[in-house]
């Protein structure tokens, strides 16, 4: 995976931290939380498109991981394991709240003010450009929510989080071929949904 060059070194310390946490060292798990909070936030947020839900889910994911730390088998990397916990927990949440999510307005899906600032971290954006970016952000979130959960998950993990096909296959417990096929159809669907925007840009 392109973004995880120092993965081997990181994984060793992850396992050491897990061992320390299992021995009862409080700070060890805190380090793991600090290490993965941003990545997991991004995954959960892009699957739910709602900050409040993401915040709750992130807490639950870390708590669940902490309680089930003894079940982590060290034959896979810790980050694959915690990603799997996060993805499965979020998918369960989405399934349970399907009705509520259907009734959500576009405003519920969009980011709050803080996030908008981060998203448009240019500082020099004109009013028109800012409105365009806003529009784009809403459209992207809307299109992502229109994808099936399986397709959305692979898009989030591959395109947004930058995971490799192999790692996604490990997280989702499926073959790499399945991941590639889901990605292909997900991109195709997104192209259709974003058709107007892509033409404008071209």
């Amino acid at each position: 995976m392109e973004d995880y060059d120092g993965q081997v070194e990181e994984e060793v310390s992850d396992i050491v931290l897990v061992d320390q946490a299992l021995e009862g060292q409080v700070g060890a798990f805190d380090t793991l939380v600090l290490r993965y909070q941003r990545r997991l936030y991004s995954v959960i947020y892009n699957m739910t498109s709602n900050h409040d839900d993401t915040n709750d889910l992130l807490m639950e994911v870390f708590h669940k991981s902490y309680c089930n730390l003894s079940k982590y088998k060290k034959n896979s990397s810790f980050y694959t394991w915690i990603y799997r916990v996060a993805v499965n927990h979020t998918l369960n949440f989405i399934q349970k709240n399907k009705k509520r999510r259907k009734d959500m307005s576009l405003n519920d899906l969009s980011m709050d003010d803080t996030m908008e600032r981060e998203f448009a971290d240019e500082g020099t954006l004109t009013g028109e450009k800012h409105a365009e970016l806003d529009d784009l952000k809403n459209k992207l979130n809307e299109c992502l929510q229109k994808l099936s959960e399986e397709h959305r998950t692979v898009v989030v993990l591959y395109d947004i989080d930058g995971m490799s096909h192999g790692d996604i296959a490990k997280v989702l417990k499926c073959s790499e071929g399945t991941v590639r096929s889901r990605l292909h159809y997900a991109h195709k669907n997104l192209q259709k949904l974003l058709d107007g925007y892509l033409r404008k840009e071209l």
Binding site: Y41, N46, F62, H63, M115, L136, L140, L202
Partner: protein, 154 residues
Amino acid sequence: MREEKNQVTELLKLKRHETPGDQYFDAFLDEFHRYQRAEMLPTRRTAGERVLAFCRDITAWFKPQPQLAWSSLAAIVVLLSVVSYQNSLPDAAVEFAQVNEAEAFVDGHTVYEENGSLPAEIVVADYNSFEREFSGSHFVTGDNPSSYDSVLAF
């Protein structure tokens, strides 16, 4: 087509910057500790809350499968009617229980027949008979029989 696909990928990459900012992540760990403490504390619920939670769980469980709810209801009704029918029968067990109740006053040598039927004759022992006197731990003070803790016996 290829260009469009690349554009989709590029657009999606923009979402990498969609984060709530450092302030949120700086405070997250403390927030998580609070959450963990709250989760680990045992929740105390009143009886009413427990009943409500039970009803909610049952409703949630049956909601996606209404046919199961109806069949369970039918099973409960059948079970209740069978129980009430059994209760309405003249019960040999009740008679047996009445005999057992009287057993303290019954001659200890009465033998029940092997087929489980009631003895042909129930002999009620005389209150001051030999059997009565030695059938249990009775202490007599003066003229009146009374029971009390054997530790206190004198």
